[in-house]
Each structure stands twice: as structure tokens, then as C-alpha cells.
């Protein structure tokens, strides 16, 4: 409140929140939804770096990244279904979609991407699955028969056709993964009533943070799983992943800051409300946590890990720690965008507060369960699809 006469009319904030804006309808579930789809898109990009762009050092994780993506993709809709007031009507989005809705496309884009990802996995793994089928018995044999689509043909010609198909699928998979997550960003970026969301940068930031979370997820889980299995780590692969993580994170963090800086610099009437939001209810989660701890530290650490010659042990430990921090950074970013955007009342005169419940339907416990489910599913998938080439009975016969 400025005491200057005349200057304060539009700046005076009375912390007035529209009565209906006191409710935060998009809660933790909608924080998790872009988080999970982002991890899916990012992991797929890691796989494509090998399969499409032939970055050989990523070969050790190229198949694992696909299965990892599938494990998370399988649960991408779980938070959405838990969030909907009427989940039993969810299929209406695909059966009777409204063509003007930015949300109505999700079912189609998600399904199309799921089909591409599943086919990609089945074709890449086909010779492996054929070999495993021959060793398997009972239920597993039936499962492998289904997964090999009934074809045991692993002749050179058949594998060449497989290879063409996988190259094609990976090729269309990249734009689809980008579309999937860019589109998720647009679901928010297209809400003109919300000045925090309504920016053309939103899909870009979502896509970059998706890449970052996917790569970080692969690094962290690769190190943990290999260590747990007592298997050696491919340090060249980890170093390459860290370099890609650094590169993507530079773009991600810079765009996140640029977006905020643009708002501050242009200082339209929206900025009053945005500034109060960032320095008010979002101070701890945005400035302290997302920016201060989980962006600046990884930003510097990734640079050091990428540029300085360090021992394998250092790279392994710090690569994992920084990857975990990046995963937290992206989760915080989702929180600050999804929850933060709703805290700012459309009255532009104040903001609401939000504290998630613990055991409520969309509270912290259901969120933790939803984040554990993909990891459990990943474990189950590991029983069917060998993650690593050395576990593959056909290794040497084909080139992943």
C-alpha cells in the first residue's frame, strides 16, 4: 500500500480472494500427473538417443529406458482417475470428446504413445523373448508366446525387418514423446484466466523438465539396480547421461528463470499478484527449495561432473545424488506451477493457502502409493524383459 495519492489504486492489495477461489481443486494428483508423464517422455528420449541418434555409449541403458518408461506410463492416468469427481465417466473423454478442449486430446495422445512404446519394446525384445519362450514353462511360456505375437522367426531377414520397424517406431516416438509432454504443458499454458500459467513458454518448460526428470530417473535407477544386483556400472554410459542431463538442465533452468524474469520485467498489472505469490506462499517451495537448493546446487555440480576429470566412484555417488535432487527439483516445479497457479485468486487482489491432507483421497499417502506403483511394476517387468544385455540369452546374435 503506497501512501502516494493516486498511484496506489491498482496496486493496493487487500488480500481479497474470490469466495470460490479459496478451494484448490487441482491438488497433489495434478502435481503428480505431469511429473509421471514427464518421466515417461524423458526416459523415452534417453532410449531414442541410442536407437535413433546412435549415441553408442548409451547402449547399456537403451532397452532399460524403454521398460522404465513403460512402467511409469502404465500409471500416468492413475492420479487423474483418482482426481476425477466421476472416474467412471473418464472414457467419455475419448468417446464424446469436445474438439475445442485442450484436455480432450490427452486420451488419444496418451494411447497413441502407449501403443508406439509397447510395440517398440516388443520388437526390440522380440529375439530375446523368443529365446526366453523356449526356456520357459507354463504360464511364462504362454506370456512369452503372447508377447512374441506368435512368431518365433529370428532369421536374419526377419530381424532386419524388426530393425526397420523399431527404427521407424523410435523415429515417430520422439515427436510423440515431445508432443505428449509439450501438450501437458499446454493444458496449463492454455488457461488464459491464469496469468501464471498462460505463457507460451509453458509447454517448452514442461518438455525440458520432462527430459531432465527422465534422464535423472534413468541415472539414479540404473546405479541403484546395478549396485543392488552386484553388477558393474558402465561409467562411460553414466558420464554421457550426466552430460545430457547437464545440457537439458541448463535449458530447463534458464527457461524457468527467463519466464519469471519476463513477468517481472514487463511488470504488467498481473505482476503485482505474481510477485506477491512468489514472495508469499511460494517463497519456501520456489525460491528456497526449487531454485536455491535443488536447481543451483545441481546446476553447478553437473557442470563440475561433466567438465572435471573425476574418479568413477565420485561420479557414481554424486551423479546419483544430483539425479535424486533433480527429480525433487522437477517435482517442486510441478508443485509450484500447479498449486501455485491456483493460489493466486482471479481477483488479482490476493492469494489462498493450501496444505495437502495426509490420508485424504488426494492427499500425501495416496500420492506416495501412486509413486511406488510404477517402481513395483518395473520390478515385475524385470521378470519378463531382461534390462541388461548380459542377461539376454541372444546377446551377440543381434545388436540390441
Amino acid at each position: 500500500m503506497s501512501p502516494e495519492h493516486g498511484a496506489a489504486v491498482t496496486t493496493a492489495l487487500t488480500n481479497y480472494v474470490f469466495p470460490n477461489d479459496l478451494h484448490v481443486h487441482w491438488s497433489l494428483m495434478i502435481v503428480l500427473y505431469p511429473y509421471i508423464t514427464g518421466i515417461v517422455a524423458g526416459a523415452f528420449i534417453v532410449s531414442s538417443l541410442y536407437h535413433v541418434f546412435h549415441i553408442q555409449s548409451l547402449k547399456p541403458v537403451s532397452r532399460y529406458a524403454l521398460v522404465f518408461a513403460l512402467a511409469f506410463l502404465a500409471f500416468a492416468t492413475a492420479p487423474l482417475l483418482n482426481h476425477l469427481g466421476h472416474p467412471e465417466r473418464a472414457m467419455n473423454m475419448m468417446l464424446t470428446p469436445s474438439p475445442t478442449s485442450a484436455m480432450a486430446g490427452f486420451g488419444y495422445i496418451y494411447s497413441a504413445y502407449a501403443i508406439v512404446l509397447i510395440l517398440e519394446i516388443l520388437f526390440i525384445y522380440r529375439p530375446t523373448l523368443v529365446a526366453l519362450k523356449q526356456q520357459a514353462r507354463g504360464g511364462m511360456k504362454l506370456l512369452y508366446t503372447i508377447l512374441t505375437m506368435g512368431s518365433d522367426n529370428v532369421s536374419k531377414e526377419a530381424l532386419e525387418i524388426d530393425h526397420k520397424i523399431t527404427a521407424f517406431l523410435a523415429g515417430i516416438g520422439i515427436p510423440m514423446a515431445c508432443t505428449l509432454h509439450g501438450y501437458v504443458g499446454f493444458i496449463f499454458g492454455g488457461v488464459k484466466a491464469n496469468p501464471m500459467w498462460a505463457t507460451p513458454l509453458m509447454p517448452v518448460i514442461f518438455l525440458l523438465s520432462a527430459s531432465v526428470s527422465g534422464i535423472a530417473g534413468i541415472i539414479l535407477s540404473y546405479v541403484i539396480i546395478r549396485e543392488k544386483q552386484g553388477k558393474p556400472l558402465d561409467m562411460n554410459c553414466i558420464r554421457t547421461l550426466i552430460k545430457f542431463l547437464w545440457g537439458c538442465f541448463i535449458l530447463d533452468f534458464v527457461f524457468e528463470m527467463l519466464e519469471l524474469f519476463s513477468h517481472a520485467y514487463m511488470a504488467t498489472h498481473h505482476w503485482e499478484a505474481l510477485r506477491d505469490l512468489y514472495w508469499g506462499p511460494l517463497f519456501w517451495t520456489f525460491w528456497v527449495a526449487q531454485v536455491g537448493i535443488f536447481s543451483v546446487i545441481p546446476f553447478i555440480a553437473l557442470g563440475i561432473l561433466s567438465l572435471v576429470k573425476l574418479s568413477d566412484k565420485t561420479v557414481k555417488i554424486w551423479g546419483s545424488v544430483i539425479s535424486a535432487m533433480i527429480l525433487i527439483q522437477v517435482l517442486l516445479m510441478r508443485w509450484n506451477v500447479v498449486i501455485g497457479g491456483q493460489l493466486m485468486s482471479k481477483s488479482e487482489r490476493g492469494h489462498a493457502v493450501f496444505h495437502p491432507g495426509f490420508f485424504t483421497k488426494e492427499g500425501i499417502v495416496p500420492s506416495i502409493i501412486i509413486m511406488i506403483l510404477p517402481i513395483v511394476f518395473l520390478y515385475l517387468l524385470s521378470k519378463v524383459f531382461p534390462f541388461w544385455l548380459e542377461d539376454d540369452p541372444t546377446v551377440g546374435r543381434q545388436s540390441a
Binding site: 496506489a8 487487500t14 481479497y16 470428446p97 492454455g190 488464459k192
Partner: protein
């Protein structure tokens, strides 16, 4: 003598109890026995020509809602009528009334405790400078010509009728809340019981029967006006076609509201 009086009283008492019992039984029966469908023809038509409409759509009408903020006294009657009409759950508002106070330093103070449901009976005490101006602003659905809620609804549950109403099909709504996010005016909420989106409908069910919206009906100072713009005799037509200070909320959103405000001030968001 005393005995005679006592007798009189006890007789009276008996008669009194009989009457009371009879009355309450008859009254209870009236409550229990269904009264049958309301005969709307017996209530005078408030919107001319509506009773002749028998098709699925209202033909030949273009409705507008006008709020005259120079008239509103902040009594909250409209909010009470609305809550009664729809049994609106506490903490959610189909309509509400805001109190604006501008002090002599041009600071703007806005509040709307309980959505103005209790009326503004006490002046605000927490203001640092003398008050220069004060007024009330009732809010409700803007019935936009280009509604954001209809645009974003993924299943077409929120739709625009040919006669200009923006309504919700509660049987189709999935309760995703996208419309709540998209509405620039925050008139929408997720109904905690039905788990679907909900909002003001300008009392579409009443309008179809030729009755004014409940809030318009009860406003003691005619701050809320509703009518047909194609009817050149209607009050809304006359107001919108005469020199007045008239505006809509957030015009730069591009939603083109059909809700107009007379005497709207630039401080109002």
C-alpha cells in the same frame, strides 16, 4: 367463585388443546400429502412470451442480465434466495456480493465475508484512512458469448444453448475441474456432493417457466435486472440502449459476457 373460574379455564384448556391438536394434524397432513405440480399459470408471467414457448429451445429471445451497482445496498437477499433455490453447499457460491471501499489515499479494500450471505451489517473497522467511497458489487455467472468453460470442457458437459445460456449436464460432467480453472470470473466450483462442476444458471428452470431468476425476484432495490433484449419494451433493452455507464467484467479476456454492470468502476475486477 374460584371453582367456577377454574372450571372455565379447564374447559377452555380442553377446547384449546383440541384446537391446537386439530390444527397441527391438519397442518402435518398438508405437509405429507403431495400438493401436486405447481400450476405456473396461476403465477403471473414475469418474462412476457415465455409461456408460449414449447420447443426444446427458447426461440426469438436474447437474454441479458444487468447489475446496477449504484443501487445495490449489500443486504444479501439475493445470496439467500440463491442458496435456498439451489441448496448451495456452504463455502461455495453461485452468486456473491463484494464490498468495495476506497479510502482518501486511493487504497482499495475488497471483502466478501461468507459471500455476502449475511448482508453487510457492520462497517469495516480496520481501515487506516478515512473512507472516500464505498459500493457493493454482486457477482454471478457472466454467461459469456465466448465462454472459456465451454471451450475447455473435455466431454462437452458444459455447453452453450442456442438461446445463450451456458449450462452444465450433470450426467456427463466428469468432475475434472478444468472449467473451474478456465473461468476468468471464478463463478464455478466443484459441488462436494455431486462431485460435478456447478455454477449459476441465471435460473434457467425459472426462466423457462416465465419467471425471473430467484435473485432478481427478491432484490429489494432492483439492482439485479433480467430480460429479453429482443423485447424493446424490456427494462434491460432500455438500459443498454440509453446513455449509461455500462461495462462488463474483464473485457480484455475476450469472453464477451452477457452480464452487464451499470456504474461499473475501474477498481472492480
Amino acid at each position: 367463585m374460584m371453582k367456577a373460574i377454574e372450571q372455565e379455564i379447564s374447559q377452555d384448556r380442553r377446547r384449546f388443546i383440541k384446537k391446537v391438536l386439530g390444527g397441527s394434524i391438519a397442518g402435518s397432513l398438508l405437509l405429507v400429502i403431495p400438493a401436486g405440480a405447481m400450476d405456473f399459470d396461476k403465477i403471473p408471467e414475469q418474462i412476457p412470451g415465455m409461456r408460449k414457448q414449447d420447443g426444446p429451445f427458447i426461440e426469438g429471445k436474447k437474454f441479458a442480465f444487468i447489475v446496477d451497482i449504484t443501487r445495490c445496498i449489500g443486504c444479501g437477499s439475493c445470496c439467500v434466495a440463491d442458496k435456498n433455490e439451489y441448496n448451495v453447499p456452504d463455502g461455495n457460491y453461485r452468486t456473491w456480493v463484494e464490498r468495495y471501499i476506497i479510502d482518501d489515499h486511493d487504497n482499495v479494500f475488497v471483502d466478501s465475508p461468507n459471500g455476502g450471505l449475511d448482508g453487510y451489517q457492520e462497517p469495516r473497522q480496520d481501515l487506516p484512512y478515512p473512507v472516500r467511497d464505498t459500493f457493493f458489487v454482486p457477482k454471478l455467472c457472466n454467461m459469456c458469448e465466448h465462454p472459456s468453460c465451454v471451450q475447455v470442457c473435455p466431454v462437452g458437459a458444459t455447453f452453450q444453448t442456442r438461446d445463450g445460456f451456458v449450462l452444465i449436464d450433470y450426467e456427463r460432467c466428469v468432475g475434472c475441474g478444468y472449467c473451474v480453472q478456465a473461468c476468468p470470473y471464478s463463478v464455478r466450483f466443484i459441488h462436494p456432493e455431486t462431485r460435478t462442476a456447478d455454477k449459476c444458471t441465471w435460473c434457467y428452470h425459472r426462466v423457462r417457466k416465465g419467471l425471473l431468476p430467484a435473485c432478481v425476484n427478491v432484490c429489494p432495490v432492483q439492482a439485479r435486472k433480467f430480460g429479453d433484449l429482443n423485447d424493446h419494451e424490456s427494462e434491460v433493452y432500455k438500459i443498454l440502449h440509453q446513455p449509461h455507464v455500462i461495462s462488463v467484467l474483464k473485457p480484455d479476456m475476450g469472453n464477451k459476457p452477457s452480464l452487464h454492470y451499470v456504474g461499473l468502476r475501474r477498481e472492480v475486477v
